[in-house]
């Protein structure tokens, strides 16, 4: 595959300097990369602890990440109290209703089934200030809108922030259908089974961290947490985002920043040389052996934001497009020829009271679930 695009580099100018980006296969390796990945977090708000243990796989592999089963996972505080986590599903270890003391420091201990021991550094608990506001603004560089977060900490103790989000949007299938052809019969679809209107929820994928260390005040002003292109399906009708904010320690911030630099912000002319990112978990017997992942303790603050497409200015709106959704017609006597991926849209009436034919279209044009959403309205939807 070759996705060469004409890309005006700096001066590029009249000569149309074309920079070209092609896909590149992963390198072939013959070394063992089966490193343990520890993704652990403790929520001090509700006293829950979640640890996911898995293994790395070669870059070229298409398999899923193998979980680490039957490990012994413990949470320890600096007074020697120990809380054991229980494996809930394969590789996932959890405990809830822990009574945690925000003035204490916590660390994670893991012993795998082959008796390798891992221990994290002690982590201090930082209080997270609430999100002040979430808003949107037209993007300055590419057509579309940025979703922006604002927060502050009057005590100036937070300084390092991390966000994750879950965005949900409402959308509709190109054609509304209220009939279905089933068992040789055309029947109407009950309201609760409608497949025209959907909601889709997506998690954040990128590392979103910010810092106010350079500022006099501990303020985060209009931090862009996501970008919605002008022609995105997300803002055809209504969009909502639930943002979670978490205070980070300086060490955690550095870890995520390095991970961001070496796995996301690449492809420029002046990229730093990528390298290994070391977290706060170590192999006790072999201190040089790589251990991937991070252990973090803290409480998140949440805020939800809604955006109606009708609130956007005309030039930023995206109207429903029917793309390649062609309607076709099928005579009643030929209904049995419809395949499983064809759905009826409308009946066509001739002289008689019963339709002589139906219009139909492909599933993708009639069933909104084909695009990843669900027809159940989320409870928070306004």
């Amino acid at each position: 595959m070759k996705v060469c695009r004409i890309y005006y580099l700096i001066l590029l100018c009249a000569i149309v300097v074309t920079s070209c980006i092609e896909s590149y296969p992963p390198p072939i390796i013959n070394e063992e990369v089966n490193f343990l990945v520890i993704d652990g977090s403790v929520n001090t708000e509700d006293g829950s602890a979640q640890v996911k243990l898995s293994h790395a796989i070669p870059l070229s592999s298409n398999e899923s990440f193998p979980p680490e089963l039957n490990a012994s996972v413990r949470l320890e505080d600096n007074d020697g109290n120990v809380y054991t986590l229980i494996e809930t599903t394969a590789g996932n270890y959890a405990q809830s209703n822990l009574t945690l003391n925000p003035t204490k420091e916590y660390r994670l201990y893991v012993r795998t089934s082959n008796n390798t021991e891992y221990l994290s550094d002690f982590v201090t608990i930082k209080q997270t200030p609430p999100i002040d506001s979430i808003n949107w603004a037209p993007s300055r560089t590419i057509e579309g809108i940025d979703i922006l977060v604002n927060t502050h900490d009057d005590t100036k103790n937070t300084r390092y922030y991390q966000w994750t989000f879950e965005e949900t949007f409402q959308y509709e299938a190109p054609y509304y259908t209220f009939l279905k052809y089933e068992n040789g019969e055309v029947t109407s679809i009950p309201n609760e089974e409608q497949i025209f209107r959907c909601w889709r929820t997506l998690p954040s994928q990128k590392i979103l961290i910010g810092s106010s260390e350079k500022l006099m005040q501990d303020i985060i002003y209009n931090f862009p947490i996501t970008f919605i292109p002008k022609d995105s399906q997300k803002k055809i009708i209504k969009y909502s985002i639930l943002v979670q904010q978490k205070a980070l320690t300086r060490e955690a911030y550095d870890y995520w920043l390095n991970l961001q630099k070496t796995t996301e912000n690449l492809g420029g002319l002046f990229d730093p040389q990528p390298g290994r990112v070391t977290g706060n978990i170590h192999n006790i017997s072999k201190p040089n052996a790589p251990v991937l992942g991070y252990f973090d303790v803290g409480a998140a603050q949440e805020k939800r934001f809604f955006l109606n497409a009708s609130d956007l200015p005309e030039d930023l709106r995206n109207y429903k497009s029917y793309r390649n959704c062609a309607k076709d017609t099928v005579l009643v006597e030929n209904l049995s020829e419809l395949t499983i991926s064809d759905l009826i849209i409308d009946p066509l009436y001739g002289q008689g009271p019963t339709p002589y034919a139906y219009t139909f279209s492909n599933l993708i044009c009639t069933d909104c679930r084909q695009q990843g959403g669900v027809t159940t309205k989320p409870p928070f939807w306004e």
Partner: protein, 923 residues
């Protein structure tokens, strides 16, 4: 009485009148008495004029260095003048009460034999009588070549040696010619002119034929009768043969017979033939075609010479250090081709006068400006426009040269009307100006200045500005034929500023600046034909402002943060001696001793012993007051080379040199980035030390038409700079926690075949080279790749270059350029894992993989305008295609997490063939 500008005309008229008043001569002879010890010529003249009725007519330029030392009592004027002018090139003619002083050519008071005899045409041998301006140029040249120049006071004894010195100049512009060979064949004694065009030859007294050969100039010779020490300035003519020879004989000989090893010299005319990407001759890109020189990718001017880092090259522009030789982060070099004269790259065998960088010296010289007439040139390419003007301020004495270059890419960006470009700007300009002034025969003054500014913004809210400025002042004084000295003062300044205002609350600007003052004195001494001695001293003061972070705009809440300045003093003394033991064996010994002091005022952190240096292990802060020495380093830097001629056209050479470097550029990006900073050596960052051994075999074939050479080298480096993974270099108060001390080694072999003349000329080179680093600290965080040698980012084992020119006719020239090299090493991910629902990657050991190999072909056609001599302007067109095959050469390969999935990409910069057309003019 003096004759100045109008003199030539007057003299011309005089010739006519002289012919008819010959008999007047000697009618009114008068005598001169008195003591004329240590008189200037002007004093002498006024004294004689006071005593007698004579009036002198002369040009003061010829006589200002003349000192009269004589005593006369009632001496005949002719005898007086004979004695005064002995050993000079001055001649006199007495006509009544007027005495005409001429330079080099006497006015003959007698008509040549047979002047009135139509059957017996006078033949010009030795002294001819027609020296007027009407002389045809060719005739002039022929005469100069045929004439016998008498050097020194005439004597009968021709025992021992005498020194002949002078300056070789371009007859058209009066500019000195650098690197011209001035030699006699029997015995074989020769010298190359230095950067002032100066040569000094110590020869046995007697008659010699002096040969002069130089790049792009017609070869010529002078016959001299050497009685004693004397001066002979030589003007030579540009070789306008359409072949535009890449290198002429002088250099071809030099490769075999010269002392230099691992040195490449390029003339601007050679460089102008090589097809280039953006429509403009770019010396940095041409240098990249030479064996042993690499870069990490297109669009970067960082040179990696023989496995050295990009900061290990000393780039000099008219003796001033250049810190950033690029515009628009590397797409152009800062050197305006119109004002350049030549470029010398020293890869090994670096002489003792150079110091301060490990890998190479790139010595760039601008021209001095035409001494005879006003001249201009310029060019228009799709991206830049340039113009230069030069000419005499005082004819034959003072000249100026100014050059300007700018881009109109900004204007083009606006015309393109693309949303992506609306937010982009890119502009730069540079200005060069220089003046050279001949105070008198023994004193010359050179002033040169350079300034440039860049500004760009790449579809973002971040604006980059940078500017590079330097100036130099040079005074050259010749004490005598055997000794001259040069006093040089230079200032260099480089700074950049990054402004970001995307978010009004944290809008800020970040500035970096470095200033350098340099004073040095260099002496060249030519005691006899077997020895040349150079000696001198230099003093460099550095002042770096590593980071000045300031709020930008009214609403910015950023706290100003300025990192303390770094200061240092680097001083050095050196002596070098070139000794020609036998005609077959030459030796060079050089010793440089450098002394470095890192100076306050500055606060220095101390770290806990025995644990890795980290922010957390800072124990104390020591404050050093203004001018206090924080740390110092010193050491000898021996240099040695030897040349042994195996035959007339083959030789072997060996060299060793040790270099010390006290300033380093910090960059953890692969290519030189716009935000790289320079750092002085201090308590924790030790000076880099480099050793290089190199050996070469040189052979010329087919009458020096084909030159071949094989050079091999082995290098070691100590205290090279390496970085921890994810090092943060900007705005860092404790850089020593991010920098690692590493060792380097590099070796390679370079093969070159070059054909300099003929309809087809060019060169082919192949280099096999390796370059490694080893970083083994006390703890794992200070160790890279387990402390074993790993390939550096510029380790490209195989490199092949072909540069060829074919001259179809006087007006059409075709050039082809083929480049191949192994892809550079890169760190790639080897594993992926899941963290927080997103795929992340785990990297291999540093530089364990390579990007795909690099291959590129360029062509260009030069079309000269017609060759009519009387034209308003001479013009030429260059049509070039860069990357003819359109191969998408990888600049980098990277893997990134997109929507939670890892994807791999290859980025190419010039992924297509790029045609350009350039118009050049000259008037």
């Amino acid at each position: 009485m003096e004759i100045n500008q109008g003199m030539k005309k007057k003299i011309t008229l005089l010739f006519v009148s002289i012919l008819f008043v010959l008999q007047v001569e000697a009618q009114t002879k008068q005598v001169v008495s008195g003591d004329f010890t240590s008189h200037t010529y002007a004093q002498f003249v006024s004294k004689v004029e006071a005593q007698t009725n004579y009036h002198f007519y002369y040009n003061p330029i010829w006589t200002d260095s003349l000192v009269v030392n004589a005593h006369f009592s009632n001496t005949n004027i002719a005898k007086v003048l004979d004695e005064v002018f002995i050993g000079t090139s001055l001649h006199y003619s007495i006509n009544g009460n007027s005495i005409y002083i001429t330079f080099e050519r006497p006015i003959l008071a007698d008509l040549p034999i047979g002047f009135f005899d139509a059957n017996n045409i006078a033949t010009a041998n030795g002294d001819s009588f027609d020296y007027s301006e009407f002389e045809h140029k060719e005739k002039l040249k022929k005469q100069a070549e045929e004439k016998l120049y008498n050097i020194g006071p005439r004597t009968n004894s021709l025992q021992g040696y005498a020194t002949l010195a002078g300056i070789v100049r371009d007859i058209k512009s009066g500019e000195p010619i650098i690197g011209a060979s001035v030699f006699v064949e029997n015995p074989t004694i020769g010298a190359a002119t230095d950067q002032f065009g100066y040569f000094s030859l110590t020869l046995p007294r007697g008659r010699h034929e002096i040969n002069i050969k130089s790049i792009g100039m017609k070869s010529t010779q002078r016959h001299v009768m050497l009685y004693g020490n004397g001066k002979l300035d030589i003007e030579i003519e540009e070789d306008i043969t359409p072949l535009k020879e890449v290198l002429v004989e002088s250099d071809r000989d030099a490769r075999v017979t010269g002392m230099q090893i691992g040195m490449e010299k390029l003339d601007i005319r050679t460089m102008k033939q090589i097809p280039l990407a953006l429509g403009e001759t770019d010396i940095m890109k041409v240098v990249l075609t030479l064996p042993g020189v690499q870069s990490v990718g297109e669009g970067t001017v960082g040179l990696n010479v023989r496995g050295g880092a990009t900061n290990q090259n000393l780039i000099l522009y008219n003796d001033a250090t250049v810190y950033n030789p690029s515009h628009l982060f590397g797409f152009f070099s800062t050197f305006n081709p119109d004002v350049l004269k030549n470029v010398e790259l020293y890869k090994s065998g670096i002489a003792a006068e150079y110091g301060g960088r490990l890998s190479s010296v790139l010595d760039v010289h601008s021209r001095e400006g035409n001494l005879k007439k006003i001249q201009g040139s310029g060019g228009i390419s799709p991206i830049t426009g340039r113009f230069s003007l030069e000419g005499p301020i005082i004819k034959d004495r003072t000249s100026f040269l100014i050059g300007a270059r700018s881009t109109y890419s900004d204007w083009i960006l606006k015309q393109l009307n693309s949303p992506e470009l609306e937010n982009s700007t890119a502009s730069f300009y540079d200005l060069n100006a220089s003046i050279s002034h001949k105070i008198d025969d023994n004193n010359n003054l050179y002033i040169s200045g350079y300034t440039s500014k860049d500004k760009f913004k790449l579809n973002s809210d971040t604006i980059y500005h940078y500017s590079d400025q330097n100036a130099s002042l040079k005074w050259k004084h010749a004490f005598n034929n055997k000794l001259y000295g040069v006093l040089t003062g230079t200032i260099s300044r480089y700074r950049y500023s990054v402004e970001s205002d995307s978010n009004p609350v944290d809008a800020a600007s970040l500035d970096f600046s470095i200033r350098q003052w340099n004073a040095k004195a260099d002496f060249n001494y030519f005691p006899n034909s077997k020895h040349t001695i150079t000696t001198g001293a230099s003093l460099v003061r550095y002042d770096i402002s590593p980071s000045n972070y300031q709020p930008f705009g009214e609403s910015s809440g950023v706290v100003a943060d300025r990192i303390q300045n770094e200061q240092a003093l680097e001083s050095a003394i050196y002596v070098g001696e070139n000794f020609e033991v036998t005609p077959n064996l030459s030796l060079y010994f050089g010793l440089r001793y450098s002394f470095y002091q890192s100076l306050g005022s500055r606060d220095v952190y101390t770290y806990a012993e025995g644990v890795p240096r980290q922010k957390e292990t800072i124990q104390d802060t020591i404050q050093y007051g203004e001018g206090k020495t924080i740390s110092n380093y010193q050491g000898a830097e021996p240099r040695f080379s030897v040349r042994y001629s195996l035959s007339q056209n083959s030789s072997v050479k060996f060299s060793y040199n040790l270099m010390r470097q006290y300033i380093q550029m910090l960059s953890n990006t692969t290519a030189i980035a716009p935000t790289d900073i320079w750092k002085l050596s201090d308590t924790y960052v030790r000076p880099q030390i480099g050793n290089q051994y190199s050996i070469g075999y040189y052979k010329n074939m087919r009458g020096n038409m084909i030159e071949t050479s094989v050079e091999a080298y082995y290098k070691t480096m100590q205290h090279a700079v390496d970085y921890k993974d994810g090092a943060i270099l900007l705005k860092n108060r404790h850089l020593e926690t991010e920098i690692l001390d590493s060792k380097g080694k590099a070796y390679g072999i370079e093969l070159l075949v070059k054909k300099s003349t003929g309809k087809v000329n060019g060169w082919v080179s192949y280099t096999y080279s390796r370059s490694f680093l080893k970083t083994k600290g006390q703890s794992p965080t200070e160790t890279i790749n387990d402390g074993v040698y790993y390939p550096s980012s510029y380790d490209k084992p195989h490199a092949f270059n072909f540069i060829g020119n074919y001259k179809f006719s006087r007006r059409f020239n075709f050039s082809l350029n083929v480049v191949y090299s192994t892809g550079r090493p890169i760190t790639l991910p080897i594993a992926k894992y899941e963290l927080g629902g997103t795929e992340r990657i785990y990297y291999s050991d540093r530089n364990q993989f390579r990007i795909p190999d690099y291959f590129r072909t360029d062509i260009s056609i030069n079309i000269e305008g017609n060759h009519k001599i009387k034209k308003l302007a001479h013009s030429s067109w260059t049509v070039a295609v860069y990357n003819l095959t359109g191969r998408a050469n990888a600049y980098s390969v990277y893997f990134t997490s997109e929507n939670g999935i890892i994807k791999g990409y290859k980025l190419s910069i010039f992924a297509q063939a790029i045609p350009t057309i350039t118009y050049n003019f000259k008037f």
